[in-house]
Symmetry: C2
Subunit: 126 residues, 2 copies
DNA sequence: TCCTAAACTGATAATGGTTATCATTATTAA
DNA sequence: TTAATAATGATAACCATTATCAGTTTAGGA
């Protein structure tokens, strides 16, 4: 894995954004400061960084994959009104993978847990 | 919602298959006995049946959405070796949605929980 | 039974997110 | 400095899914 300016910019941009962006969203943010970057480069590097465990790829929130610079164990909540994505602390269900192993004998490599609903902010708005 | 032969066939085909098929997989099974059915009809009806709560749509297992005739509360495990999808009993984490509500105040409409790893069968093969 | 409105169908075009391809450029270690 | 190789940007291709639409089927009166 060689250094590249583009990869650094992508990683920095992700770190600066708490919004758990999709590849395309991040691309649109980056081209404001770095118009020459290509969309494929953004996809490529986000996947590469996720493979290396430097960032995290989140599935199942909506049609597109989202990315998260926070690699610590945690889950996600997406509000069906405002579409904002929130972090959900890991300890709401810290032993699920272990429970599955005990019950099924399957070895768990990855646990994908996400919630859909209405966030507190949107609840009070109505 | 009017009766249609196609919808009945689709539902029956899903009920007869424990494999949690994608729309396309189910389509390929159905055309063996009912070659005139259209792919769009399969997609349409699976989505409709899922909306009505008659079947369940599963996200986040892989790129495609899978469907399940079992509407009871449960989760899923996909084996990264054989790609088989297994049911995971609900009680490994029955209070997670409630926990999230207590911690965050977000109202939870849907909880998506899936596991990736190696199933027992594939473990013993090595 | 016949009629009509609404739902449904199959074929196919369009969409949207993502990956593959490829010629060119940048990085790195010797 | 050079040579190997990784990375880039543009764009074509891919794949799952949805939209469109003309023709067909269903269902509940008249």
């Amino acid at each position: 894995m060689k250094y590249s300016k583009q990869r650094e910019i992508i990683l920095r941009a992700l770190e600066m954004n708490v919004i758990h962006p999709t590849a395309d969203e991040l691309y649109k943010l980056i081209i404001k400061d770095f118009p020459s970057i290509g969309l494929a480069t953004v996809y490529r590097n986000l996947n590469l960084l996720a493979e290396k465990g430097i960032i995290k790829k989140i599935y199942g929130l909506d049609d597109a994959a989202h990315f998260d610079h926070n690699t610590h164990n945690h889950h996600h909540f997406i509000c069906t009104k405002c579409n904002k994505i929130y972090d959900v602390p890991y300890d709401i269900a810290s032993d699920i993978a272990d429970n599955v192993w005990k019950k099924t004998g399957f070895s768990i490599e990855k646990t994908e847990l996400s919630f859909h609903g209405i966030c507190k902010n949107c609840q009070t708005k109505n």
